[in-house]
Amino acid sequence: MGWFNRSAGKKQQNEIPEGLFAVCPRCKAHIYKDEYESAFKVCPKCNHHERLTAAERISLIIDDGTFREFNAGIKPNDPLEFRDAKGTYRQKADDAIAKTGLNEAVVTGSGDIHGIRATFAIMDFRFLGGSLASATGEKILLAAEHALRMKRALLIFSASGGARMHEGIVSLMQMAKTCAGIARLDRAGLPYISIMTDPTYGGVSASYATVGDINLAEPGALIGFAGRRVIEQTIKEKLPDDFQTAEYLLEHGFLDAIVNRSELKQYLHRILQYSLGKKV
């Protein structure tokens, strides 16, 4: 469990106050920050899984030193030259780049899981809410093509509020574009494993995230097509508390399993051994 004991997160989440303790955003328990970080931001009291950055996710899942990022230079495009009340999308994207140190809401590359090489796309919710836009879609399609070329499994970790409306229809088309990549992998008999983390919504849940050969989710992750508020406004009733939780989706048949973060790497390794029977 080497990957698990390393201290990982270099960035602090806003929820965690400076000092010795972190505060669980769900149960408000005070947790030694070291303990919290080394447990990859899982609350030891209530099992709340806090959102991870792409870098933290890589350090959690991928064997030390094996990750090779590709297409890191792909940055948001601005096909609509979009501006809203608060300014231009270009500025917003630049701010996101500066804030996160990422060029887009997804990091793609190749790496090993306990020695099994695979292709990865890992979303980072901090970058404009993990929204799906042209550069995100492009990177994911290129990752799918990479997996196809190398005859490897593709693993996508989703974390997204949905399509990035600043790129309008071009964002919407990324749903079809990424799914076309998944479709090619499927025809080639190559495994695609989708891991949904909190949150996975809209244009991402309605495209690559839910059509994994195997659909996994982290405990408590919120996953849905429409947002809770939109639905409540539409049907004019209150939704149950567990609506759109991973546990709710499992019960309704859309997840193969919910996997604790501490077991996720090992779990993926076990699954990959079955999925690559024919190819490796």
Binding site: I74, I169, S207, T210, H252
Partner: protein, 318 residues
């Protein structure tokens, strides 16, 4: 019903209707006046429709008299045999399909049904499909593939239905599955956005080889009202959002999302459904003839490349 930017048109129309009741013997100027009114009507129509804002276009796309899927079925098809059910849970009333004959072409025709009066609207859930709708559509598309029939999809939906049961039965998965499977289909797929292209709910049947759009249809990642509420924090800013989102046929053609625009008659489809439907039919036939010449592999690869090109971003070393 007339939209507010059509008020002037409505006045002239009313005037023409009034004059038409008169007897030309008692009113010698009648024909001359009528002619002049008609000319004015025509030039004003052109002026208004040449200068529509994107938000105006949204209003036209949602116009209650705009031809709906059933009008297209009646107007384009010598035969339509509706096929029901998703073989899992139900028969969606907002998204229907079946065998259809358009000119000499036997196809699988699929589209959203909005309904005209209140009862119809409720029955068809205002054209907002549930997961069963997308699953039925996929079943029919696979049947079309088995039988070697081209697929024609007419898109006109505000959105996939955001309901509780829709979520429980996997609205997201149903759409995602269609996007994935449509990429694999080995028969031609022609898509026409005839009215509202409402986000993922529209895209769920819109992964086509040829994607056409009526001149005053719209196609958007989010309704302008929703976008305005989020980015302008004021749903009233929908016209601004509509503008920013580039949701008109012309913008989509420029962006490389659609292949062609089907022109609407002066004053929009709601003023002349017949011509609109005839032109749509012609455009579909032309697309079918083109696509039917392609092998299934070429079709599939072409479709892949088409969508892969959308929003292609080159690596920029910074």
């Amino acid at each position: 019903m007339n939209l507010e930017f059509e008020n002037e048109l409505a006045e002239i129309e009313a005037r023409i209707a009034e004059l038409s009741k008169l007897d030309s013997k008692e009113y010698p100027q009648l024909n001359k006046d009528l002619g002049s009114l008609r000319r004015k009507m025509k030039s004003l129509t052109k002026k208004i429709y040449d200068n529509l804002s994107p938000w105006d276009t949204v209003r036209i796309a949602r116009h209650p008299d705009r031809p709906l899927f059933k009008d297209y079925i009646d107007g384009m098809c010598s035969e339509f045999i509706e096929l029901h059910g998703d073989r899992r849970a139900g028969d969606d009333k907002a998204l229907i399909g079946g065998f259809a004959t358009i000119d000499k072409h036997r196809v699988m025709l699929i589209g959203m049904v909005k309904g005209r009066n209140v009862d119809e609207k409720v029955y068809h859930n205002f054209g907002m499909p549930n997961p069963e709708g997308y699953r039925k559509a996929l079943r029919l598309m696979k049947l079309a593939e088995k039988y070697g029939l081209p697929i024609v999809c007419l898109v006109d939906t505000p959105a996939a239905y955001p309901g509780k049961e829709a979520e429980e039965r996997g609205q997201a998965e149903a759409i995602a599955r269609n996007l994935t499977e449509m990429a694999n289909l080995e028969v031609p797929i022609v898509v026409v956005v005839t009215g509202e292209g409402g986000s993922g709910g529209a895209l769920g049947i819109a992964v086509g080889d040829t994607i056409l759009m009526l001149r005053y249809a719209v196609y958007s990642v989010i309704p302008p009202e929703g976008c305005a509420a989020i980015l302008w924090r004021d749903a009233e800013m929908a016209p601004q959002a509509a503008d920013a989102l580039k949701i008109t046929a012309e913008s989509l053609l420029e962006l490389g999302i659609i292949d062609d625009i089907i022109d609407e008659p002066p004053g929009g489809a709601h003023r002349d459904p017949e011509t609109t439907i005839a032109r749509t039919k012609d455009a579909i036939i032309a697309a079918l003839q083109r696509l039917k010449r392609q092998s299934s592999n070429r079709l599939r690869d072409g479709r892949y490349n088409k969508f892969a090109r959308m929003g292609r971003v080159k690596q920029t070393r910074s």
